[in-house]
Subunit: 335 residues, 2 copies
DNA sequence: TAACATTGCTACATCGATTGAGCAACTTGT
DNA sequence: ACAAGTTGCTCAATCGATGTAGCAATGTTA
């Protein structure tokens, strides 16, 4: 309470008339095995309390070759899903007595590698990597440093990875759309069902398209590759693609599967320019969740990725200690 | 590249036929002042490269009594504003060569104190605290440890603090509402303008109410304390309060100032139960921003807090070195 | 009473990087 | 040829906490 500067075990030792080792043992619950008198321990603890002593965690970390830090690397925070991931990560890290160190590294592979190396240099006790652009190089950096690590969202073939069950989630969403949309048999089948957004070369999108295709084929509403509009992830692209589709069809399709929240923003922007009547005949689904989006005034189904379960599972893998490669799929929710 | 474990300056020194000091100097750009031969330096750097050497930052931190870490404490991440704050924080920290360590501490004062103490124990080089519940105890912990710190969003009287200009923002939003709403003179003035949400005992809400009141009085539309419904920050409370108001008035008010995004969620939930015609006669404003909320199908003004400017200003304070108390207001945007 | 065990504590090396002090071997000036 | 300066490097202490090894003072047993 009274010290001007930070106090060390040496200061405490001095004031308590004991040795630094005794102080260390007393303050770490190791006094029994070190055979210190209870009385001495009490005295030390009282003084430490008075001085407001707090161990220097860098010194401890250096000595013990660990840090008490739980590292997490993720691309950004402007996305609800990543925000939830980091929130859950912080919670689980705390539960393990670790201090979360969360780094936003962007989408650039080099920046991500730098961030990972930096966290390794702090001897983080574990590392969780979300949305890795080039997972392999990150994994090899971790392995070389013998750091437990997990990948989330974007998997890595060389390390434990937790991903959303994209295929299953997409299938579920597609099926629900098919059930809920009114598909008048007399209309042109080109106005039925479309998939909008994403990059078919990326695994996540590919899986979602696969799930979509699977259900659409089963329902016999898939007949044209043009029903899948993988226009990228930007809202502008999605807005444009939907606008094109609308003028081509002369109306909205009966059902629209939107691949991500960013694309959905573009969709909403386009819809806000249409008369209400035009919209109410269509059913929408989005593979991503946002509480505000659910408050739209038209039928909308959203798939919510279970950040909570994913992080839980990720820690389960980390707790196992071995960084053996494996791929775990977590089923998302339908909202 | 080839080492199984992490290599140290001692390993590098051995392989380079030099001393650890030389290695340290060579790898830190201090070789000129330390008068090392360029040739030696090159040899050391080459070997370090080959070994994939990375300094142990805990050791460095211990020695230099700093860590290269930039600490940030914030309540949670489920809020767009805090997410943006942390994003900007990470950016600025990087720009200063620091590694951001972001901790979610929740709203509990004790948990926040623990987090701050923990970051201090890592010798963070600076500390940014957002949404502090009990700023004073946090500030005193920082001062005692001689750690540069800033408060953001919730100010502290004993430290540099950056807050949104709540009064000004609220006045701006209120004025815009008044300009844009149609206020038929023949109707009952009780249906004119309302303020919904927040806790009048909290400084932020109080300031916003003050800005609201100021403009409303100037426009002569404030006549009853019942026009200010400080029902708390939860969406459920807001939904209920608006529902009550609706049944009391038999309609929506012409203008509604919603105090936060959480409350706005409740408002939207209520509105989604009303026929469209009922809504289109009203104008809404919300003191907070969410891209999806702006896509509503009715007139909506949102105030966006400038997380970017606030963090920039916060770092400007930190860079000054002195932790002299001051209160800086950053004007928000109208969207 | 010597041998041995137990209690209560301290000394010291260690983790890895940094840095002030200082030592040789040359070069230069006179 | 001797002092002084320069160049190129190494030594050793230091940061704060940890933990093994071990010392001294008792108590216990034969």
């Amino acid at each position: 309470m009274k010290s001007r500067q930070k106090s060390t075990i040496y200061d405490i030792a001095q004031k308590a008339g004991a040795s630094p080792s005794a102080v260390s043992a007393a303050l770490n619950g190791k006094w029994k095995q070190r055979r210190l008198k209870k009385e001495t321990v009490d005295r030390i603890q009282r003084i430490a309390q008075e001085e407001g002593y707090m161990a220097n965690l860098q010194a401890r970390g250096l000595r013990k070759a660990e840090s008490g830090l739980a590292g997490m690397v993720l691309p950004d925070h402007e996305n609800r899903f990543f925000a939830e991931l980091s929130q859950q990560f912080a919670k689980e890290a705390h539960a393990r007595g670790l201090c979360p160190a969360i780094v936003h590294a962007g989408r650039d592979a080099d920046a991500q590698l730098t961030s990972v190396e930096s966290l390794i240099a702090y001897s983080v006790d574990l590392l969780m990597i979300a949305g890795a652009t080039e997972p392999l190089s990150l994994a090899s950096a971790c392995s070389k440093a013998r750091i437990r690590h997990v990948f989330v969202d974007h998997p890595c073939s060389e390390a434990p990875s937790i991903v959303t069950d994209n295929t299953g989630g997409a299938a579920m969403l597609t099926k629900t759309l098919l059930d809920e949309m009114d598909m008048p048999s007399e209309t042109d089948p080109t106005t039925w069902l479309y998939f909008l957004g994403g990059e078919s070369s990326l695994p996540a999108s590919a899986d979602r398209i696969h799930g979509f295709r699977q259900q659409a084929e089963a329902a016999k509403v898939l007949f044209d590759p043009g029903q899948i509009l993988a226009c990228g992830y930007e809202s502008e692209k999605a807005e444009e693609a939907l606008s094109d589709l609308y003028s081509r069809l002369g109306q909205l399709p009966a059902g629209l599967f939107v691949n991500s929240i960013g694309c959905f923003e573009g969709v909403l922007r386009f819809l806000s320019r249409l008369p209400e009547g035009d919209i109410s005949r269509s059913t929408f689904g989005c593979f991503d969740h946002d509480p505000f989006a659910t408050l739209s005034r038209f039928p909308l189904r959203m798939v919510r990725q279970r950040a909570d379960l994913m992080v839980e599972e990720a820690f389960r893998q980390l707790d196992k200690g071995t960084s053996e490669a494996c791929l775990i799929r977590v089923a998302p929710d339908l909202v």
